[in-house]
């Protein structure tokens, strides 16, 4: 499958990446080449093959639903780009 500049812009929006207009053609070219590589998979009939999501076919362990971690808000917020009064600051969301 070949992707154009418009499709790259759409995917970039989904992935929340601000791709510069001048870089879009190169991404379109690279992504199309990668998809072409990936589509070699289509040469094989996989009807009835069970998808493999985990290399050991294990289910993830569950733990009891109990509080296990102490509150370390101050420590974690000390590496945040912008905080105030224990809150993470972002641009205004609601006008």
């Amino acid at each position: 499958m070949s992707l154009g500049v418009a499709e790259v812009a759409k995917i970039a929006h989904l992935a929340r990446l601000a791709i510069r207009t001048e870089d879009a053609p190169a991404y379109a070219r690279n992504l199309s080449a990668i998809l072409e590589l990936v589509e070699q998979m289509n040469a094989v009939d996989t009807t009835g093959v069970a998808p493999m999501a985990h290399p050991l076919d294990m289910a993830q362990r569950l733990r009891p639903d109990e509080v296990a971690e102490p509150n370390q808000r101050d420590r974690f917020q000390s590496i945040a780009p912008r905080v105030e009064a224990g809150l993470y600051l972002v641009p205004k969301v609601i006008e």
């Binding site: 992707l3 790259v8 995917i11 970039a12 929006h13 989904l14 992935a15 929340r16 990446l17 601000a18 791709i19 510069r20 870089d23 991404y27 690279n30 992504l31 080449a33 990668i34 998809l35 590589l37 990936v38 589509e39 070699q40 998979m41 289509n42 094989v44 996989t46 093959v49 069970a50 998808p51 493999m52 999501a53 985990h54 290399p55 050991l56 294990m58 993830q60 362990r61 733990r63 370390q72 420590r75 974690f76 000390s78 590496i79 945040a80 780009p81 912008r82 993470y88 972002v90 641009p91 205004k92 969301v93």
Partner: protein
């Protein structure tokens, strides 16, 4: 040089250094200072380290010396090592090779780091790597490429290129690495050292920055299989904080090293010796097989018929998981944040575009596409079905043979800049390693010879949890050969 004089500290393996510390030939403080001096001298040339933690290293070394005086030293107490900068280290920058985390000071230690700290190992610093472990040449690092100690014009491989170069240049006797599609084995091969990617789930991924969670696995890199056994014995083990970590006893890897190889059956997949393999690399691997036959092993041809589908399936599964994992970098809680965002969307999109390099963005885009509405079945589901076929190939092979052997990489180290503009060509450098991650099996690379001045790696693949056997098979070869003892002339 007097042949009876003891080897310089940097020339010794971890096993030798451990014996030297135990015999009181030198202290951990002396040992640590010696390696820090080598790093200071050679790192400007190699760029193997992103961060050097000299001060805390000396403090850890002194603590290790005290612990030894109190009679509480283990085999790794006082041994200096380096950590790939993908492992979180409390109070120390953990960049993952990315501008996104250039100023990220990890608030906790990864389990692997914690376990090695508890054993008394000394951290020399954090090694350079491809950004978010995405690359095969270490050229995608925000901190610039690492150079190969065997030839400064060559890449060291990736993504654990800094760890591989540091061990090869004797700037550290051992290091940690991670392997999602070959990132321990391929740089180990290209730098002429030994590295093992354990079975998926053998080593905790907690505190190891995630790239592709169903493939990522940490492991040791050192000069010998014996040293890898020492490191892995400490790194491996159950961790309740990683829900995919396997609760299963860790064998005594060192005790198993000397088992004889008589009767060992080595499978050579015909697909690993076909088109694309450099003929000089093939000759080195064939010579290694002849050596194994001398050691009592039998070699037989096998087939892994779906091998050619490993790279296509990987470049769906890994980008898909990467696009999910890297969604957490939003410019809000930690990591890079753009200047003056005009709204929330602008904050997300610009912070991410500025913080991630082009290869990371490419993989996020591929993953977002493969997971998007209407394409999931054709790409992600299909790739997971192919993954099953690849895994089944290995299951069938291990009914006939004990281990599988072949080249780690189709060529020796390539030149810096040679493949950087062509992602597809770069991807093909992992053609023999990627299937192992898709199947979740353990794989090891060890030095087996040279083409010109550049090392060749031999890959050994084992059945699930057969790390002990792989280390044994590598160790016996290293007892009979000296490829692993070769040192790059400029760093002897």
């Amino acid at each position: 040089m007097n042949p009876s004089a003891p080897a310089a500290m940097h020339e010794q393996t971890i096993a030798q250094l451990s014996a030297g510390l135990a015999a009181g030939q030198f202290s951990s403080a002396e040992l640590t200072r010696a390696f820090l001096e080598r790093i200071e001298h050679s790192n400007p040339q190699l760029n193997a380290f992103i961060t050097i933690t000299a001060e805390s290293a000396l403090a850890q070394a002194q603590a290790a010396d005290t612990r030894r005086r109190q009679g509480q030293a283990g085999p790794l107490t006082g041994i200096p090592i380096a950590h790939k900068d993908i492992f979180c280290t409390h109070g120390v920058r953990t960049s993952c090779g990315s501008r996104m985390l250039d100023r990220f000071i990890a608030p906790y230690d990864a389990t692997v780091v914690e376990r090695l700290n508890t054993a008394g190992a000394v951290m020399l610093g954090k090694t350079n790597m491809d950004e978010f472990a995405m690359g095969s040449s270490n050229e995608t690092s925000f901190y610039g490429p690492v150079r190969n100690p065997w030839d400064l014009n060559a890449v060291p491989g990736g993504s654990s290129g800094g760890s591989a170069a540091a061990v090869a240049a004797r700037l550290a006797p051992g290091a940690t690495g991670t392997d999602t599609g070959g990132s321990i084995r391929q740089p180990a091969a290209l730098c002429g050292i030994t590295g093992i990617k354990p079975t998926y789930g053998r080593v905790s991924r907690w505190g190891m920055i995630a790239y592709a969670s169903s493939l990522d696995q940490g492991g040791p890199m050192a000069r010998t299989a014996e040293d890898c056994a020492l490191l892995l014995a400490t790194m491996a083990g159950f961790d309740p904080r990683d829900s995919t970590c396997v609760d299963r006893p860790v064998p005594d890897y060192v005790a198993g090293l000397n088992q004889p190889l008589a009767g060992l059956k080595i499978g050579l997949p015909k697909e690993y010796f076909g088109e694309g393999l450099d003929s000089a690399v093939a000759q080195v691997v064939e010579a290694a097989m002849a050596e194994y036959r001398t050691l009592g092993a039998e070699t037989v041809e096998i087939s892994l018929p779906n091998s050619q589908l490993a790279i296509p399936a990987y470049y769906v599964v890994a980008p898909a998981e990467c696009s999910s994992n890297l969604a957490r970098f939003d410019g809000v809680r930690y990591g890079h944040r753009c200047e003056n965002p005009k709204d929330l969307l602008d904050l997300y999109t610009r912070s991410r575009a500025e913080g991630f390099g082009s290869e990371v963005q490419r993989r996020i885009l591929v993953g977002a596409f493969a997971l998007s509405a209407g394409y999931y079945d054709a790409y992600y589901l299909k790739a997971q079905q192919i993954r099953r076929l690849i895994s089944n190939d290995f299951h069938r092979a291990f009914e006939q043979v004990d281990v599988i052997a072949g080249p780690t990489s189709p060529t020796v180290a390539f030149n810096l800049g040679e493949k950087v503009d062509d992602p597809i060509t770069m991807y093909l450098s992992d053609i023999y390693t990627i299937a192992v991650n898709l199947a979740g099996l353990p794989g090891l690379s060890l030095p087996a010879g040279f083409v010109g001045q550049r090392p060749v790696g031999l890959q050994l693949i084992g059945n699930y949890f057969a790390e002990e056997r792989l280390l044994n098979v590598a160790h016996r070869y290293q007892q009979a050969t000296n490829w692993h003892q070769r040192t790059p002339a400029a760093f002897a």
